[in-house]
Amino acid sequence: MNCEVCQLKELDVEHFEIREVLRCILHTILFHRALGLVRPKDIDLELFEITYVQCGDVELERKIDEKIDQFLDRVEKHPNKKNQICLSFYEVKNKQPTWFTNKVERLYWEQWYINLNVAQHQKGHSGKSTSSKIVVDPEAEERTVRRAALEASLRDVLFQIIRFVNEKKDHIPPIPNLEGVSFPYEITISSSSDSAFGMEMFKRMLQTGHPTMLS
């Protein structure tokens, strides 16, 4: 079985936008992978005029929020770095225990990479002079432009997910469960400068047995 990898479009986000962006993307992906009986729940983003869909699983929502909190902590500890979240779906293969390992093998059949470039907002401490007004307005306008661009990019990312889901269907294993997220999954966080980042990728390559498709 192939492991389909999808590298989503990189997004330039600010710190306060991370949570909403990640929720939107992760839930959209998982909604397409919750092939059991679901009652979808529409969620409106507060920062953008985008409505995404959740599968309605409360446990899933909690897990995602936990991962987002971890990501935020990591971003605060490692600023000015490209951060990545990897959402992987795998199958559990019971491997016969050997001398070396007794673990259950995971066979990843799909991986989603969410690339975020967290912008460090540099506050202007130019003093409180009369010229501050002039400074503020361009910043606000720039922020508005940036926000609109981010919204468009986020929408593009969502369409990218939809296209990927539509195009790649054969690699999906049989649906095991009837409700909620059908397949086991995991969410990992890494950053570009992290030495473990490469190791994570290498491990997955060994497990899947296929080279990672980097697009």
């Binding site: 009986l37 869909v53 309605g56």
Partner: protein, 620 residues
């Protein structure tokens, strides 16, 4: 072979059923997010489940309907989808085209004068485009197709199934179903990302009246867009789902931007003040309550007001008939009837009989020990020119009972039983109040030189034990005295006014005013007592007449007690002489029988009980 053929047939049937349900589900997903009239979204945008479906966000298999389980996607109810799908249930080979139409109102549209006929096309209308269908002018100024969904199942016209195809057919339905699930998931997410969804949300979530509306049209054949129209639109094509029998295709043409169409999503009507709303004073003037509830009679006329007034009279030490108006209440005119009523409503101890005949009351009031409950100095003579309070006969008892003042132990009985009481003995004709009181006290002092007189003059002093018949718990303050009296009454079920023997039989503890057990008509020794009682009764009656309302300051009225009581005594002493020979029937109109009837009833009953008590004591 037969089995394989049967399996193929069943497989084909399954696939057809999947396709049919796919059509229905797709239409459902599209219309529920494009048809405002059937939307049940709330303002926050969260999905609100219809009443038909369980309002639970968690997946619960027991709460899903059969059609929800198709493709594992439970949706809200969408009647428009259900209405329009019948055609494709019959034949899923026909394409299904869903047009989402943006209807714009004219610029000069007046919402108040809007006529629905010339306005929007109802979203519930469905039209099947035929070759000659010209119901809609898609090229009209106010109508624009902003989305066109095309769903089609292209069947493959292949030959008979072979071995390989048979195998694939066995799994094709499963694969078809799984892929259909994925496709519908994508469709569900896509419809919310397209620009038209924003218009839908604005229409459903906001209370503002919009200058546009969304309509839909489901048909199997439409006129294709012109090149120019199509240039303004974008296309999104879902990956077709291939099956052995055909190919399921879904695509959408949509306008990338609806803002360019001159829409103003937020054009609310300016708020207008409605001066005459329902319930406003201008719309419905406040109705006045009838003024008949204002009591014009004395407080004593009201049974409820009087019910407790006799318990408060000790506090204020004035007759309840503080209302100077001599106008008698209806209760006075109909003494017997009201008396009966008062008996029922009264708060006195439950041991009081409901009906006490006048004779009994009279007899009871003859008992000398009534004054143990009634500290006579509490009497406050009425300063008003009300009729005299003295009623010689039984009417006196009634009158005094009507006063509702606390001290029912008014020796009206003595007055009534002895119409020829030498009231003049009580007081000089018109002495000063103090003098009157003093004379009364002197009369009382005949039996007990000092104690009773002192009590009359200083009622507030703490000498409860000197009040004959009074319980030791009776203290100086009027309120306390009465409260003790009440409690005293309550303690006895059989006789509310049973007095302790020692208090009664001990002559030293009693004044002459508070007679020893004995026949009230006994001459001699009882004469003075009767006279004192008469004075006390008169004072009491006067006090009852002048009793202020319940809410008045009790202390102030208490202070006035001595002087008032003197006055009352004087007046009472005068009245019997005047009315001594008067007929008994006329008494009810006099005597300040502005006093309440309930007090009179209470007094009557009290006297009746006293009489009984005395008789019992005599038996001993």
């Amino acid at each position: 072979m037969a089995s394989s053929h049967g399996n193929t047939h069943s497989e084909r049937a399954k696939m057809e059923q999947i396709i049919t349900e796919f059509f229905a589900k797709s239409l459902h997903i599209i219309l529920e997010s494009r048809c405002p009239y059937v939307s049940s979204r709330n303002y926050s945008g969260e999905q609100v489940l219809s009443s038909l479906s369980p309002s639970s966000s968690s997946s619960s298999s027991s709460s899903f309907r059969p059609r929800d389980k198709w493709f594992n996607l439970a949706l809200r109810d969408c009647p428009a989808a259900l209405e329009n799908i019948d055609f494709w249930r019959q034949s899923n080979l026909e394409p299904m085209i869903v047009d989402v139409i943006l209807m714009q109102r004219p610029i000069d549209w007046d919402p108040l004068n809007f006529s629905p006929k010339t306005g929007f096309v109802s979203g519930k209308e469905r039209h099947y485009y035929g070759s000659d269908n010209e119901e809609f002018g898609c090229e009209g100024k106010n109508e624009r197709i902003i989305e066109r969904w095309v769903l089609q199942y292209e069947s493959k016209k292949n030959g008979g199934s072979t071995g390989s195809k048979k195998r694939s057919n066995c799994t094709s339905s499963h694969a078809l179903y799984k892929k259909s699930i994925l496709l519908l998931r994508s469709l569900y997410a896509t419809v919310r990302l397209l620009p038209a969804y924003k218009l839908f949300r604005d229409l459903t979530s906001s209370a503002h009246i919009r200058m546009y509306n969304l309509a839909h049209r489901v048909s199997s054949f439409v006129e294709p867009f012109t090149r120019r129209e199509e240039a303004d639109m974008q296309r999104f094509v879902f990956t077709p789902v291939d099956t052995s029998c055909g190919r399921l295709c879904l695509s959408v043409l949509y306008r990338s931007s609806v803002v360019d169409m001159g829409l103003d999503p937020s054009t609310p009507i300016s708020p207008q003040f409605i001066p005459e709303y329902v319930g406003s004073p201008m719309a419905e003037p406040l109705k006045r309550f009838p003024s008949g509830f204002v009591s014009q009679s004395s407080p004593s006329s009201s049974p409820f007001g009087r019910r407790h007034s006799w318990s408060y009279d000790l506090y204020r030490a004035s007759p309840p008939s503080a209302n100077p108006s001599p106008s008698p209440s209806p209760t006075y005119s109909d003494s017997h009837a009201s008396l009966a009523k008062q008996r029922c409503r009264r708060l006195p101890p439950p041991s009081l009989p409901h009906h006490v005949p006048d004779e009994t009351l009279v007899a009871y009031m003859k008992t000398p020990s009534y004054d143990e409950y009634w500290p006579s100095p509490v009497f406050s003579p009425s300063p008003s020119p009300s009729p005299p309070t003295y009623v010689p006969n039984s009417h006196i008892s009634k009158a005094l009972l009507r006063c509702e003042s606390a001290p029912v132990s008014i020796p009206v009985t003595r007055l009534s039983s002895m119409p020829s009481l030498p009231n003049k003995q009580l007081m000089p004709p018109s002495p000063p109040m103090k003098a009157t009181l003093l004379s009364a006290a002197e009369n009382i002092a005949h039996v007990r030189p000092t104690s009773t007189a002192d009590k009359l003059l200083s009622f507030s002093k703490d000498r409860p034990h000197q009040i004959p018949g009074a319980r030791p718990s009776v203290n100086s303050s009027p309120s306390k005295s009465f409260s003790s009296r009440l409690s005293f009454q309550d303690d006895y079920d059989d006789g509310p006014f049973v007095v302790e023997d020692d208090e009664i039989l001990d002559p030293s503890s009693r004044s002459g005013l508070f007679e020893l057990p004995g026949h009230p008509n006994e001459p001699g020794g009882n004469l003075f007592v009767k006279r004192s009682q008469d004075a006390a009764v008169g004072a009491l009656v006067r006090m009852l007449k002048k009793a202020p309302p319940l809410h008045q300051d009790l202390q102030g009225s208490t202070l006035q007690t001595p002087t008032n009581s003197i006055k009352d005594t004087t007046e009472i002493s005068e009245e019997p002489r005047v009315q001594q020979s008067s007929a008994s029937n006329s008494v009810s109109s006099g005597l300040g029988l502005v006093t309440s009837k309930t007090t009179a009833n209470a007094l009557e009953e009290l006297h009746g009980y006293r009489k009984m008590k005395d008789s019992l004591l005599k038996l001993k």
